[in-house]
Every structure is written in structure tokens, then in C-alpha cells.
């Protein structure tokens, strides 16, 4: 028996409040999603009943906390269909996960003259770490552009791959345009050149397919807080063969085996990459968020969100002078727009006075804004608790703002 999607909204206490004297319409989910009561309860419960530092403690609380933390890892591994639990590394979030790979992979596998390919659709967090690594290693930072629909050109990508390519980094869903990128195809093409691929799943893991084995991703990263989990917890997944080959990122406690003044031997996976005390409560909270998500039928959930997106895009496109950015064949969760003659910032501030939360600006994707020759967009983004009424309020709000500003 799966849970009815329409019942989800009631599980999120924050959505019941009023903002600026209007019932909150929360459409900033690509920045962070709200948390269901069960996740909030899990955090309180951890500190009420279970808190202890994990691993190597031999008192009862430490053992229980360790078990809860490792259970969370298994839940994540099952959710993304990792072959092995120790391929799942806890980090603080997507940004740390990308940096982990950029530093360790760069140090081990990238030499002067090598090439790394990212796309023009990346969030700065999957762009800047690679650009900086390339500068450190004197490698070439190559950017696969997007076309007039906001889609990547696979034929061009294939031509960019060569014997110097060391890694490809691409998001599954663009946080600015919502484009669903053909990661399976990108991975297949890269693997034909024996090039590993990092998939940034920050905007996809909570909405669409998230099976690392079926897409054959070498590395797969995402944040807990964008998938109904707590802030401060994220995932770095890597295939075992890669994780074994990479050097540690941070060093300190937990990640070592033996330590002498001359040298150390490193701990086994996954601990080799988890130096220091991890965010135990948040990891457990993420596990609970996954339990929450798994109550829904995944295809039904995806279908619901897709229908909602189309409904919202249709409503917005009826508004005169409103421009929707990108027209990808597949889009997920994101409604990026502007109204001619109206600053995105003004739209955001005025929608907020009506209790409607959207994000405005560049969305950490300056290369996309530069390519579109705009200073930013208004971005509404969806989660499973949004409904048609939210999007009707958004469209009415936009019309109201247009009236306020254009006279």
C-alpha cells in the first residue's frame, strides 16, 4: 500500500504557517526542501535518546548511535541502488562531495595537458572545483555548451572526448533551467573512451531516476537537504574500484588504521573518506527522509511532479510578456522565467509580500545567465507537497506584480 501524494502536504509543519499575512506558498525547493515531521522528530529523538560519538565506542549509546548511522548508510545505498554499502560516503553536501573528488582525483590522475569536461549547465559547485583543479594541475578545463533549447549537444560532446580526457562532470538536472540531461548516454560515450563520469544529482535524486548501477555512474553526488532531509549531510557515491584507487581527502581521526610518527595506513572504505566526527544526527535524518520518500510509488510521484510542472508552465505562458527560459524535451521541477521590463529581484520581493517564496538572480549559474544575456531569472521550483493551487497563486501573484509595476 503506497502513500497518497495528496496527503504529503500535511506532513510538513512549516507549510501550515502564514508569511506576510498570507498562507505560505513555498516554491523555492531547488534551494532547499522543507522537512516532514518524521525527519524533524528523528533529529530531536537522536539528541534526546541516542547521542554519542560513533565507531570504536564500547558503551551502549555509542553502539546504538553507530548502528543507527550505519543503518542510514544502508538506506542511502539501497535508495540509489549502490552495489555495496561502503561505496556510500557521508559528506556535508554536494559541494563537499564534488570537492572531495576534484582534490583526490586531480592529485592522482590529472597531469599537465590533460582535459576535464564540464557543461555550461552546471551549478558553480560542479564547475568551480573543476576549473580550480585544472588550474592547479595545469590541465585544460573544457565546457560543453547548451543549445537554444537549453539542452546539451551529444554529437559535440562525443567530439570533445579524446585520449587526454580524464573526467566528465555533469548534472542530471540543471538547477537553473530544469533540463534533464541524458546522463546514461553521456556515461556510455565517456566509457567508450575509458573516461569516468561524475553525476551531480542534487536536483534529480528526489525527483527522477536515481539508480547508479543502471546509469553506470562512476561517481554520484547529492545533498540531503534538497530531498526532505536535514541540512549539513550529503552523499558522495563512487564505484568501489575508484574509491580504492583514490587517496583520502581529509585526514585525521576515523580515517586511519595505524599511526606512527613516520607514516599512517588508512582505514578501509567507507571510513577512509570520513575523517573526524560525522554529522550523525543528520545522516540518521537523511535515512528517515528516504524512508518517507519510499512510502510513495516512485513512478506515481514522478508523474505527479511532471504534471504539476506542465500545469505551472502552461499557466505562466498565458501571461503576456512572460518569457520562460529553455525548452528542453525533458524538464524537471524548475520554472525559470522573467517578465519583460520587470527586474527579477522586484518580482521576488513583491511575490514575497503575497507569501510566495521563489528565488531570483543567477542561481549560482553565471555561465548560463551570460549565455542567455540576462542578469538573472525568477525561479519557482517544485516539491512533492506542492499542488495546482500553489501554481495558480504564483500565476496570479505574477499578474498582480505586473499591474503594480507597469503603468
Amino acid at each position: 500500500m503506497t502513500k497518497d501524494i495528496h496527503s504529503a502536504r500535511a506532513d510538513f509543519p512549516i507549510l501550515k504557517q502564514s508569511v506576510n499575512d498570507h498562507p505560505l506558498v513555498y516554491l523555492d525547493n531547488a534551494a532547499t526542501t522543507q522537512k516532514p515531521q518524521v525527519v524533524i522528530d528523528a533529529l530531536v529523538d537522536y539528541y534526546t535518546r541516542l547521542n554519542a560519538n560513533i565507531h570504536r565506542g564500547n558503551h551502549s549509546l555509542a553502539v546504538q548511535a553507530t548502528e543507527a548511522y550505519e543503518r542510514a548508510r544502508r538506506k542511502v545505498a539501497a535508495y540509489i541502488n549502490a552495489e555495496r554499502n561502503h561505496e556510500v560516503i557521508f559528506t556535508r553536501g554536494t559541494t563537499e562531495s564534488v570537492n572531495l573528488l576534484a582534490y583526490t582525483y586531480g592529485e592522482k590522475f590529472v597531469q599537465a595537458g590533460d582535459e576535464v569536461i564540464v557543461t555550461q549547465l552546471e551549478h558553480h559547485s560542479n564547475y568551480v572545483p573543476w576549473q580550480q583543479m585544472c588550474l592547479r594541475r595545469r590541465a585544460t578545463f573544457r565546457i560543453l555548451p547548451f543549445n537554444e533549447h537549453g539542452e546539451l549537444d551529444l554529437a559535440l560532446f562525443e567530439r570533445m572526448l579524446n585520449e587526454k580526457t580524464r573526467l566528465v562532470a555533469v548534472n542530471h538536472v540543471s538547477n537553473s533551467l530544469g533540463t534533464v540531461n541524458p546522463v546514461e548516454e553521456i556515461i556510455r560515450l565517456a566509457h567508450a573512451h575509458e573516461v569516468p563520469v561524475l553525476v551531480d544529482a542534487a536536483q534529480s535524486v528526489q525527483h527522477i531516476a536515481h539508480d547508479v548501477q543502471s546509469m553506470d555512474a562512476d561517481f554520484y553526488v547529492f545533498s540531503g537537504h534538497k530531498m526532505y532531509g536535514p541540512m549539513g549531510i550529503g552523499i558522495f557515491y563512487g564505484k568501489e574500484k575508484w574509491l580504492e584507487a583514490l587517496p583520502p581527502f581529509l585526514s585525521g581521526g576515523e580515517m586511519i588504521d595505524t599511526v606512527t610518527p613516520e607514516k599512517v595506513t588508512f582505514n578501509v572504505l567507507p571510513y577512509k573518506f570520513e575523517a573526524g566526527t560525522p554529522n550523525v544526527a543528520q545522516a540518521i535524518g537523511l535515512g528517515v527522509a528516504i524512508d518517507y520518500l519510499k512510502q510513495f510509488d516512485p513512478l506515481e510521484l514522478q508523474g505527479y511532479e511532471e504534471d504539476l510542472l506542465v500545469y505551472g508552465l502552461n499557466l505562466l505562458s498565458e501571461i503576456p510578456d512572460l518569457i520562460i527560459y529553455g525548452s528542453p524535451a525533458q524538464r524537471s521541477g524548475i520554472l525559470p522565467f522573467n517578465v519583460n521590463g520587470i527586474q527579477h529581484y522586484d518580482m521576488g520581493v513583491l511575490l514575497d509580500t503575497m507569501g510566495i517564496a521563489v528565488r531570483t538572480g543567477q542561481h549560482c549559474t553565471q555561465p548560463i545567465m551570460d549565455a542567455l544575456h540576462i542578469s538573472g531569472t525568477v525561479r519557482a521550483s517544485l516539491a512533492l507537497y506542492n499542488n495546482q493551487e500553489d501554481l495558480e497563486k504564483l500565476a496570479n501573484g505574477v499578474r498582480r506584480v505586473i499591474k503594480m509595476l507597469k503603468r
Partner: protein, 141 residues
């Protein structure tokens, strides 16, 4: 010319008549639209405070101990805020500008929508006006 305190009171009274945030912002935006346009020769890069999401042009002058300023923004909301400052501080004696306690913004709650925007420049703008007032007084006004 009425004093700054009196003008603040007028603004407070005007806003008190407005029923909700939308109306308050509508009024604010109208104030921005009614503010005298900035001279093209003043709207130059050296007078530009470039923010993360909106830009403000801002030019202050002191004449015979009186502070004059011109401003513009590509954001109509920010321009409205600037127009409030203009209404309060333009054409006021430097001494009054320096001593002005601008309580009306907090009182109306208008800044809470934008104060988290690191680079809105409005706080900086008030500081800039006060600094100019200090210079103006030093010159013997």
C-alpha cells in the same frame, strides 16, 4: 522645508493608511516613480553601487551647508526605498542629515524584505550621506 522628523512622521502616517504589504509596496514603488530623474551625466560608473541582484546609482553634493542628492536603480523596489531616503534627506541642512535617526524604515518593516540582500547598498547609502554631511560641515557649510 519641513524637518526630517516631521517628514518621517508624514511617511509613517501615509503608510499607516495602507491595508497590507502589497499596498505598501505599491505606494513605495509610486514614490520611486515620482522621484526626480537622475541627470544622465550623474548616472556614470563611478556613482554605481553594483549589487548582487540590483544596481543603484547615487550622487551626493553639498551646497552652502545643504545636502542634495540624486539616485536611480534598475529595481523599482530599491528605487522606492531610495525615494524614501530622498524625501527625508534631500535638501536638508548637513547638520540635520548627520544627526538624523531614521527610524521610519524599521518602524514600517520595509527593510526586512531587503536587508538580508548583502549588497542592496541602502545602509551604505545612509552612511555615505552622513559622511558627506561631515565633509560639508567641515568645509564650514
Amino acid at each position: 522645508m519641513p524637518g526630517i522628523q516631521e517628514l518621517q512622521k508624514d511617511l509613517s502616517d501615509d503608510f499607516a493608511l495602507l491595508a497590507n504589504w502589497e499596498e505598501k509596496y505599491e505606494y513605495l514603488i509610486e514614490m520611486g516613480m515620482d522621484m526626480p530623474a537622475m541627470k544622465p551625466e550623474s548616472k556614470v560608473d563611478e556613482n554605481l553601487v553594483k549589487g548582487c541582484q540590483s544596481s543603484v546609482w547615487f550622487d551626493v553634493k553639498c551646497q552652502d551647508g545643504i545636502i542634495f542628492f540624486e539616485a536611480d536603480s534598475d529595481s523599482l523596489v530599491v528605487k522606492g526605498m531610495v525615494a524614501m531616503l530622498y524625501k527625508l534627506l534631500n535638501n536638508q541642512p548637513a547638520k540635520e542629515v548627520l544627526e538624523a535617526e531614521l527610524s521610519v524604515f524599521e518602524e514600517l518593516g520595509l527593510w526586512r524584505h531587503i536587508s538580508s540582500q548583502r549588497s542592496n547598498g541602502l545602509t551604505a547609502m545612509v552612511a555615505h550621506l552622513k559622511a558627506e554631511a561631515v565633509d560639508c560641515l567641515a568645509k564650514g557649510g
